[in-house]
Symmetry: C2
Subunit: 254 residues, 2 copies
DNA sequence: AGTCCGAACTTTGTCAGATGAAATCTGGAA
DNA sequence: TTCCAGATTTCATCTGACAAAGTTCGGACT
């Protein structure tokens, strides 16, 4: 499930985390200079090697740019590796901005119906088996808000896996990092969970039968509902449009 | 357009390029150890700092894993940042594998219709203006195979930009890295280019009018045609099956 | 003979210092 | 004021040293 390779204890990854989070969350805006290596050594309490290795990692993710003698700058946002797991985590964790919740909901609307369609075209027996299992888990956990989130993520993941397309699957895995954070904020209700079960089942059935048209339509229904829910929660609870970092409001949607 | 931050001349990025490409292209399979730092210093002719910085970058992209005293290993493929620009370039450049061409074609089928739909929902005047401009460029370059490729990429990019969704746009930018390589291999014909113009225009019109349904359908037509073309070219010209990565099945399932 | 313990070894992690290279800044001269 | 050269700043790279954490292997003990 996309585990990190490095320990957080490592000095250099501490540099990555600290600077990366500051950049992505908007302190240290694009174009602004990062302190010199010497100063970072002092501020972060690590050696120069650690600083340099950390900075290089961030350069590799498109967040920083180093120029000899001119210092290190934060790159423009359109150079960032927005689908890098770390970058996405810094952006959506622990609490995403309201606008980013819309971004994510739109992304799912754009992506998931098409993925379900390709899954219907490509799924083999094993993939359908996996989808069936995760669907069963979805039914089984409908009463447990916490567990339902994970089961839901697993179900959608199984569909992407069924597409037999590693890029699509990876894309979903990355997105689910953000999705998990959003879900923590917008926990649905039990009744609401149960309402979505038939839609999910329709998706699974359509894929198994190879009905790509139906699979797509059913999945569209699922993600459109999810988007509408998120939208209404934002509308009713998180009024502030400006500046807002945190989306407050755990409340009922609508 | 997603420019690199580091010069290729830099010692440490030479390490990144060399090892990264070897890993992604299948030499150095997952689980296999990478030579020790000492040996890499000798083999690559750079100092230890450069080796370490390069390795750290690859760790940041999920390709490598380091353990003190146990050496450095290539991570399993499902840990790789498959949508990292470098990783994608190593994979698709200069010549992608046949299976990867299918992967890419499927990805577009899954993604682009949905993106066109969201674009139809979200596009503002400026975005529609940009789409109109790139569409005009498409018509203007239909006789120039080379230029048409770039114009086509720009048109599709404009649609993703119209979605007002930075994750979607970034996704397309990354994909277009791979797309450009594939196009170099499968250059279409001039007649073929002209056939696709009406479909492209339908997409643009539908988006401008906010007809998300029609935009999606028109875009589906475009990418399905592209997929069919790629498929037939593979079938007729690129007979070699060997070495393949996975899932061949292009056929209708079941 | 088999098992367990610990020392030696290997390999990455980190720091410190020195030197090189490339912009930038600063004065001064035309 | 403009322009050029030197001083300065800051990253790039190499080297050496030591720490930390596994791994390996030999020997003592049962």
């Amino acid at each position: 499930m996309l585990r990190r390779a490095y320990a957080e204890s490592a000095r250099h990854s501490q540099v990555v985390q600290t600077l990366g989070e500051q950049i992505v969350r908007g302190r240290r805006p694009p174009g602004s200079p990062v302190p010199t290596e010497e100063r970072l050594v002092a501020e972060l309490g690590v050696g120069r090697s650690a600083v340099r290795e950390g900075v290089k990692v961030l350069v590799g993710k498109g967040l920083l740019e180093t120029r000899t003698s001119a210092g290190t700058l934060v790159r423009a946002r359109d150079s960032w590796s927005l689908l890098d797991p770390d970058v996405l985590r810094w952006r959506f964790h622990p609490t995403p901005e309201e606008d980013d919740i819309r971004i994510l909901a739109d992304l799912r609307v754009a992506l998931e119906p098409g993925a379900a369609r390709v899954a219907a075209e490509r799924a083999d027996a094993a993939a359908n088996q996996r989808i069936a299992e995760t669907l069963a888990a979805l039914y089984a956990t409908a009463d447990d808000l916490e567990a339902f989130i994970e089961a839901d993520l697993a179900f959608h993941r199984a569909i992407f896996a069924a597409s037999q397309n590693d890029l699509l699957l990876y894309l979903y895995e990355v997105i689910s990092i953000a999705l998990r954070s959003v879900r923590k904020v917008h926990t649905g209700s039990i009744e609401h969970n149960k309402e979505t079960l038939p839609n999910h089942e329709r998706v699974a059935v359509a894929i198994r039968r190879g009905h790509h048209r139906k699979a797509e339509e059913a999945m569209r229904e699922v993600v459109e509902v999810a988007r509408a829910d998120a939208e209404s929660q934002l509308f009713c609870c998180g009024g502030s449009v400006a500046s807002g970092r945190k989306a407050r409001g755990n409340g009922r949607r609508r």
